[in-house]
């Protein structure tokens, strides 16, 4: 079997004295969508931030495309092909939509600066084709966009770095169900058409598992369960804890 694109082994992360991640191991294969589910404070966001270099692990390795990235600076990790769309989108509100997107390509280094700029301009067009609403609003300050539009902008900005892998943190947070569905449809399209690999964190476990190939369940910093999405959706513990289904009363015994 081919080696996974992302392979995390024995990851330990501390926030001061709090042991936020304990011996977490996880892998994502090329072209997969993998969902990370778990309650508040389970360590999902911490895990994504550790992969993208915002937080340093105290033990364990993070191998991306065969190279250990666990000691790299965040900008080097982006350049290496992992783009993290953070929780709460974090768009640069006062800057225009177009500038937000252009900054997404900031860390990219091409053969020449002119070449990089031309490529970035091409990508900008492609991303605005993918999200027509961003084209419409390209001259508007990003802060004036609706939550769903900001999420598209944050994803578009991440794509400008030409990543091989996307880390998505709660892309549906605070959005109307219809908008969330559209965002999730885009995520699937990105995988299917661009061959992107996706690690997705989502509160809404059912929604996340529905589009994912596999899933991991994180509880108080540990991976407690992993498997194919259908298996997790059918798992009684997962159903009780994360899918809001009262298994016991529905089928006694």
């Amino acid at each position: 079997m081919e080696t996974p694109l992302l392979e995390i082994t024995g990851l330990d992360v501390f926030y001061g004295k709090i042991h936020a991640l304990r011996q977490v191991s996880l892998n994502v294969r090329q072209g997969e969508i993998v969902s990370l589910i778990g309650g508040n404070g389970a360590g999902k966001t911490t895990l994504l931030c550790t992969i993208s270099g915002l937080i340093r692990a105290s033990a364990g390795t993070i191998a991306f495309a065969g190279a250990d990235i666990s000691r790299r600076a965040p900008e080097k990790i982006v350049q290496g092909g992992v783009s993290h769309v953070p929780e709460g989108r974090l768009v640069f509100s006062p800057l225009t939509v177009a500038d937000n997107l252009r900054l997404g390509a900031y860390g990219r280094s091409g053969a020449s600066r002119a070449e990089t700029r031309a490529e970035a301009a091409e990508d900008l067009e492609r991303i605005m084709d993918m999200f027509p609403v961003l084209r419409e609003r390209r001259k508007q300050a990003a802060g004036t966009l609706s939550g769903g539009e900001q999420q598209m902008l944050a994803i578009g900005r991440a794509l400008m770095a030409r990543p091989r892998m996307l880390l998505l943190d709660e892309p549906g947070m605070g959005l109307a169900p219809l908008v969330t569905r559209e965002i999730f449809r885009h995520i699937v399209t990105l995988r299917d058409s661009l061959g992107l690999t996706v690690l997705l964190v989502e509160q809404n476990a059912r929604r996340a598992l529905k589009i994912a190939d596999r899933g991991y369940v994180l509880e108080t910093g540990r991976v407690t369960l992993t498997g194919a999405s259908q298996d997790l959706l059918a798992d009684r513990d997962v159903q009780r804890a994360y899918l809001g289904r009262d298994v016991d009363s529905a089928s006694p015994g």
Binding site: L54, A73, E75, L95, A161
Partner: protein, 293 residues
């Protein structure tokens, strides 16, 4: 009150105010990328003037070259300050960093005193000292230099921040350092760059003002405080507020000195600052809610 003397006060005020504005811009640039107030900003201004004097007198260099070297030297020092004093402790709370900058300012001032003594020095005006009569007021050619160069710097910074991708990347660091790092902007490099630009802008201000107000090892204290007052006046974090705040402060100070008494010249700046902080804490051009999003 006659028109020529009013005009004279205005001109003097605008000239000094332009330097306050440049100092305030220096504060703003560092504040915007790091969220800290760099109290060594006044020392960058002092170094611009003092190093120019030093390069001219001790090394016998022509004035333009001396000034260029002084500005380059101060820019380099700005980079050193960031690398040696700020970066190793970047994760500390802002207040610790602010106190470090106060320490840096004392260190620079002390070193300047040891190197160049406590004397006051003058830099020759750039193009003679024969005043031009302007509606009855005496206009020194240096005044025009100060105003023109200040405007040029302001326009340069405006272009940098609104047109260049690097300028926008720097703004991005101020809006959200975490998101900036995640799109591949090296936040450390941007902070370094902001210290260099601030030092450069400050040094230019110091060099162009030195022929008018004289310079010594300790001019940075007052210039730094005035520049800070200008910053608050214009609304902290707003570059145009900073420049405008400097001009307003300079003009008010000059009018106060002319019509009331020059003894209260320095006090006036801080009285204005205090009144403004009571009445409008977010500054004249600051956001009213005072919330940084």
């Amino acid at each position: 009150m006659d028109l020529p003397s009013l005009l004279q006060y205005l001109i003097t005020g605008l000239t000094v105010g332009a330097t306050y504005g440049l100092t305030a811009l220096g504060f703003t640039i560092i504040f915007n990328t790091t969220g800290i107030i760099n109290f060594a900003q006044g020392e960058f201004v002092m170094l611009g003037g003092m190093m120019s004097v030093f390069f001219m007198r001790a090394l016998g260099l022509p004035e333009p070259l001396a000034i260029v070297l002084a500005v380059a030297g101060t820019t380099l020092l700005g980079a050193l300050v960031e690398r040696l004093a700020i970066r190793p402790v970047r994760d500390c709370p802002a207040i610790n960093l602010v106190i470090i900058t106060i320490g840096v300012s004392i260190l620079i001032r002390g070193a300047a005193m040891l190197l160049w003594g406590k004397d006051t020095f003058a830099l020759p005006p750039f193009s003679g000292s024969a005043p031009v009569s302007f509606f009855g007021a005496a206009l020194m050619p240096q005044t025009l230099w100060v105003l023109a160069i200040s405007l040029l710097i302001l326009a340069g910074l405006k272009t940098f921040f609104s047109r260049s991708i690097h300028g926008k990347a720097m703004l991005a660091c101020s809006y959200d350092p975490k998101a900036a790092a995640l799109v591949g902007i090296g936040v450390d490099r941007m902070v370094l760059l902001s210290f260099m630009i601030s030092a450069l802008v400050g040094a230019v201000g110091g060099a162009i003002l030195a022929p008018i107000t004289l310079t010594s090892f300790d001019v940075g204290v007052m210039l730094g405080l005035k520049g800070f007052a200008a910053c608050i006046l214009g609304g902290l974090g707003n570059p145009f507020g900073a420049a405008a705040g400097g001009l307003i402060l300079g003009v008010l100070e000059s009018l106060g000195a002319g019509f009331i008494s020059s003894a209260y010249k320095d006090a006036l700046a801080f009285v204005i600052l205090l009144v403004l902080l009571f009445v409008r804490p977010s500054g004249l051009f600051g956001r009213k809610d005072g919330k940084r999003v």
